[in-house]
């Protein structure tokens, strides 16, 4: 019972995988497909890990999807202007960190509710992206070496999966094993207490927002690499799914706290369900019905473990 309560959502993920594997042993259950799922979830998970950092301090960053789109468009434009891959990465990531810093300052320094601050600032970023791209999908001038950063495999693992593993490991260590991470959790847990003991609340919050935007930009770069094109609203789909992953993850482990392992479980549930349902050939509308139902079930599992209390 405690097991169910503590690891309910994780068990739910295992159960979902098991059910799909039984329903479709050859296609879904194949090693190749399972590895492929890690690749399919990777960009979403990277964005969600960024969102996790901001959720840890108790805020929302609704500009992530705008930053994903921006990063792709900016990168392809810069390639068009002749920049090298390394400098494109550097420029785009630094710009994104700066954008995140602005959001963070609005929230931490000027006390604008993060929901409205990042929504408004995201709108501004969206306008910028439209301006740069003229609203068009950009695809020419992308160096093949850049494309390889988002596709293919290395050591038997898809490249995006490797990016995810790296990102997740770093942020997980940061949150779980460093003083910075403890501070972020303290700020999220009780901002007043954090302030009273003299933590640099504002600075740390700004860093969390900056990192969130940085990771969103990384995902945007990888998306452009993977698709070989950049679309001015290409990141649109990431916002709600990223938060779904974070919230699912919050129900996965410790009492309702956002965490990197939790977010990974959340992103995995989302990816597995959509992969599995597509492989089983479930029609679109039923996929929606089932996705919603499975996610609810995954969260509710915990409650049954709790009933014993």
């Amino acid at each position: 019972m405690t097991l169910l309560r503590r690891y309910g959502t994780l068990l739910a993920l295992a159960l979902i995988i098991a059910v799909f594997a039984v329903a479709s042993p050859g296609a879904f259950g194949s090693m190749a497909n399972l590895v492929n799922i890690t690749q399919q979830m990777s960009l979403l998970a990277i964005v969600a890990i960024g969102a996790t950092l901001v959720m840890v301090v108790g805020e929302f960053d609704l500009s992530v999807s705008a930053v994903v789109s921006f990063a792709g468009i900016a990168a392809v434009s810069l390639f068009g202007a002749g920049f090298s891959i390394a400098s494109v990465f550097a420029l785009v990531l630094v710009t994104a960190l700066a954008m995140g810093t602005v959001s963070g300052l609005l929230v931490a320094r000027f006390a604008v509710p993060s929901f409205i601050a990042t929504l408004a600032f995201g709108t501004i970023i969206g306008g910028l992206t439209f301006w740069i791209s003229d609203g068009a999908t950009l695809f020419s001038g992308i160096p093949p070496a850049f494309r390889d950063l988002g596709r293919g495999a290395l050591f038997g693992l898809p490249v995006p999966t490797l990016w995810l593993i790296g990102t997740a490991a770093i942020v997980w260590l940061l949150l779980d094993a460093t003083e910075f991470g403890r501070r972020l959790y303290a700020i999220g847990g009780n901002r007043e207490a954090a302030r009273l003991v003299g933590l640099p609340v504002r600075r740390d919050m700004v860093i969390a927002f900056a990192l969130s935007a940085g990771l969103a930009a990384l995902a945007g770069l990888l998306l452009a690499a993977r698709l070989g094109s950049a679309h001015p609203t290409g990141g649109g789909g990431y916002l709600l799914s990223a938060y779904a992953a974070v919230f699912l993850g919050m129900t996965a482990f410790r009492e309702g706290e956002p965490s990197v392992p939790g977010t990974l479980v959340g992103a995995a549930i989302i990816a597995v369900v959509s992969n599995g349902l597509t492989i089983l050939g479930v029609p679109s509308f039923l996929q929606d019905l089932m996705t919603g139902a499975i996610i609810l079930a995954a969260v509710l599992v915990r409650q049954f473990g709790r009933a014993g209390d």
Binding site: D134, G135, A136, R226, S229, H231, G237, I279, G281
Partner: protein
């Protein structure tokens, strides 16, 4: 003259291209065109038409939208003496001119091309998006073509996620390749973006397969891919440039107080294949 160009789909590749060409023509004609995009939101679109009507613009150009979805506002604009022209739209009361491709015909061309390639026998995957009335016409054309070709089967169909259709099609195709990769013979894409996504997945997971893909629009990225002998073997190109041009010409006449000779003009659709591009693929 101020011209208001309104659309819910500015970031859609084809729509974007039509708008750009129209803007060029407008500039050449000395008009001052401003573009308003409502991100897929029809309620917003209705409001924005009201606004430009209130601002008494010289003309309203609607792109990639069926005016029947916002009939009241179109009628009100027309009643206020503002000419309404649609590109990639439909005829409706109050619309002075619609320049479009015949979407049913586009769908028929696409289906016929694919079915011919398959020898009228085989399994296809269908990527569609019925919410868009024009795109929906193409699905109806597919249904009609399927009736005539009993040996063609739709073994999977996917309703596209918009925005982000390329990535969505890519993921879905990856999944379908896993489950029924051996049975799929062709991908029928209601427009080119899903086709591009499907190509990315096939190129990554099954580069040697014989699956062929075809779409609609003549999207430059798709044309590029056809040229490079990818799995995309055809796109029914809408002549967006011609459409925008015809619309601009029509508008010039209307603004000069004349009536366009026809209320609806079709831009010719033509099939683009490796052959028409002059490449020979292995």
């Amino acid at each position: 003259v101020d011209i208001a160009v309104l659309t819910p789909y500015q970031s859609s590749v084809a729509t974007n291209q039509m708008i750009k060409v129209f803007e060029d023509k407008a500039r050449a004609a000395g008009w001052n065109a401003t573009v308003v995009d409502t991100r897929g939101d029809m309620g917003q679109l209705a409001s924005r038409i009201e606004d430009v009507t209130a601002a008494k613009v010289g003309a309203i150009v609607l792109v990639s939208v069926d005016p029947k979805q916002i009939q009241d506002q179109v009628s009100a604009a027309a009643a206020a003496g503002i000419p309404v022209v649609t590109i990639d739209g439909a005829t409706a009361p109050g619309v002075a001119l619609n320049v479009t491709s015949d979407n049913f015909e586009l769908g028929t061309k696409l289906s016929d091309f694919l079915f011919d390639k398959l020898g009228h026998k085989g399994n296809i995957v269908k990527f569609y998006y019925s919410a868009h009335p024009g795109v929906h016409q193409r699905e109806l054309a597919l249904d009609a073509a399927l009736k005539k070709n009993p040996d063609i089967k739709v073994i999977a169909e996917h309703y596209m996620v918009v925005p982000g259709p390329i990535d969505d099609a890519r993921k879905t195709t990856e999944d379908l390749l896993k489950s029924q990769g051996d049975q799929i013979d062709a991908v029928w894409a209601a427009w080119d973006e899903p086709a591009i996504g499907a190509e990315l997945a096939i190129e990554a997971d099954k580069p040697d397969s014989k699956i062929i893909i075809a779409g609609i629009d003549g999207n430059p990225q798709a044309v590029e891919l056809i040229k490079s002998c990818s799995h995309i073997k055809g796109t029914v190109s809408q002549d967006f440039d011609a459409m925008a041009g015809l619309a601009a010409d029509g508008l010039t006449k209307i603004l000069a107080g004349q009536k366009p000779e026809k209320a609806e003009l079709y831009a010719p659709a033509k099939l683009i294949t490796p052959e028409t591009l002059g490449v020979t693929c292995p």
